[in-house]
């Protein structure tokens, strides 16, 4: 039998999919966290100030966060 052990599961590295990465302008950010709610990969969590922090290991660079940010505080920048 092939058995799945749920205690051994974890996230999947997808950082190498990305062409553009999200860059958060923390001055502008209002900490609404819509970006985190909509992030298809659950790559965004709240930091100590309640503002979004992107774990780039899980970010594919789709740009949904930047597109949905109501105050345009996220910009997609080309990665070197």
């Amino acid at each position: 039998m092939v058995v799945v052990d749920r205690t051994k599961k974890g996230g999947q590295y997808v950082g190498n999919w990305r062409t553009y990465m999200p860059e958060v302008d923390y001055e502008r950010c209002t900490a609404c966290l819509l970006c985190a709610m909509y992030c298809p990969e659950a790559a965004i969590t709240a930091n100590e100030e309640g503002k979004p922090e992107v774990d780039l290991r899980f970010c594919k660079g789709c740009g949904v966060c930047a597109n949905e940010c109501p105050v345009k505080a996220i910009r997609m920048v080309k990665e070197e």
């Binding site: 999947q12 590295y13 997808v14 909509y38 298809p40 990969e41 597109n67 949905e68």
Partner: protein, 699 residues
Amino acid sequence: MSEFDVMPGNKAVAHGVRLARVEVIPIFPITPQTTIVEYLGEFIANGELDAEYIQSEGEHTCMGMAVGASLAGARTFTATCSQGLAYMHEVVAQAPSYRTPIVMAIADRTLGWYWSLGPDYSDIMPELNLGWLVNFAESNQECLDMVLQLYKIAEDRRVLLPSMLSLDGFYLSYSYERVGIPDQELVDGFLPPYEAPYPVDPTISDRWPSAGIPPPLHTTYRRLFEEVMEDAKRVIAEVDAEFGEVFGRSYGGLIEKYRCDDADAVLVTMGSMTTAARRAVDRLRAEGERVGLVKLRFMRPFPTAEFREIAGEVDAIGVVDRVVLHGTGGGSAFADVKSALYSLEDRPKVMNFVTGLGGEDIPIDDLVAMGRKVLRVASTGRLEKEVEFIEHPLPKGAEPIRLDEEMPIYPGSDGCAGCGSSIIIRHLLKILGPNTVIVNPPSCSGVNYSGVVRVPWILANYAAAAGYETGIYRAFKHKGKADKIYVTGFSGDGGTVDIGLQAISGAAERGESMMWVCYDNEAYMNTGIQRSSSTPLFAATTSTPAGTVWKGKPQKRKNMILIMAAHRIPYIATASLAYLPDLERKIRKAAEVTRSGKGMAYLHIQQPCATGWYFPPEKTVEVGRLAVQTGAWPLLEIEDGVLRLNVKPRKLKPIEEYLKLQRRFRHLSKEQIAAIQREVDKDWKSWLALEKMGKLPWY
């Protein structure tokens, strides 16, 4: 004169079907078969082929359509593989007795037990003994040519049997080779139109085939079928010879011998591995080894006489099988070769190599090693191990990234960037929590998310998913745990509105208190964007392409909400990934309804798909929002029969704002956009009218 092009095997099959002027083509998508029927759709969409193209809602029906069309006297083609072929099985078994000369391409793929998209013959071998002719192609050229040959063989009055053309998934189906496309005029001369001897057409025929005979005739008819199979062997040889005269290529009929002169031993192969085996034999021959190759072209009828002749010439035969018949210890061709030789006085040693299962490559080096082993058996006359499994170590994959926090679904996935179903499954599991069992029919989500969830995720067979779910739910119910575990179907639109509908309907009617969540991306995305009955009006998909004749899908989508309401289940809702608080509230509501044992809760969530609707990935949520604001996807719920629209804009935005973001609608004319607007308005008014009723009258 022939034209040449470089194309995958699936396209070569499609060209064969086009040249054969096939009249009826029922289809259902499954990897790696699907592009065959997509290419055919393109031919028809652009006026290059005039055929009835029927997008069925499941393979069982699909094969029924094929048998029906052939009974009515039409030249008929269909294609499938793997799970799809297994699901067809009942109707596949029926086709020979009706003497329907259907040609069906099987782009071989492993049949689950353990799932794989890669090819082995576990799908086609269980279908061998039903009365079909079964042919295995080695190259893309052979695929095209055999479509033409098989129609000529199958329609011959001495045969009149359906036939399967096996082409290895991926190795042929998707691999590009140079293929000659014969002239239509030559093909027309070779393959005249099909005339059914007894079509079920009362206007021209007073006699038609029957599948009902009394038991005492069964043995007689089975014997007669065996005689027909013997006749088929002669017809196969004749047709191959005639094909050679007309087109300048022939393949040898039931088998082909390669460098078998003076051989002490031969390998027996089938399908695409044969090409690698030719190179292996070349290498061994260059070293002076006397080894040859027999390509098994037809498994049915089986080339018994040919193998008996070979048996008189060699001391050992090594059969390479890409399948294992569990409980027999070896492969399928091995069993047949052995049984063909048993009654001979002097028999060579026969050994078996089982390899390439699940789609694993069979490299030339392996075949060279197999050749050496058979030669050793030939020279020593000793066979120590009858069956050998050729196995390779598993390459090391990436380890999951461990996180401090435990969650029902971890970050990252194999889904496309911007995947909407990812947003949906994450919110679903966030609310349901770890004591959830997901039952998931084949879909993108199984491929992409089953690896990162921390709850049991059961990959269920397509049409039976609501059955799996019911079984799990009833077991928990019996153990008194039904209120502690959420049993949830999580399915795409194909698995819900098409092939899965029967089982869902059954569960809803019985009042199974479980959830069904349909994430609707409005087409079969996992197999490459074929239309489903949830695809909206005029959308272009790969099976409803926009061409010179076709302008996208001509039908409106199925109203699944009203179908579920007809079952009077306690909770039904539509939702959108753009309206997350509404979505989460509805998931909570559905969970509460099912936990209380009141019956089924059905959620139908629209999932904009960047890949299949052709919009940039960052627009997933934006497109979803516009669908609600334009009325293309109304948010509503029906709670104990009371219908409520949850989002009611004072004025709906024009539908064009929604359509213009998506390339699946870019072919639309002004008239088509106006027609869609009319339909949206009509639907919106209908929902408002139902809302006004208070309680739907049949609740």
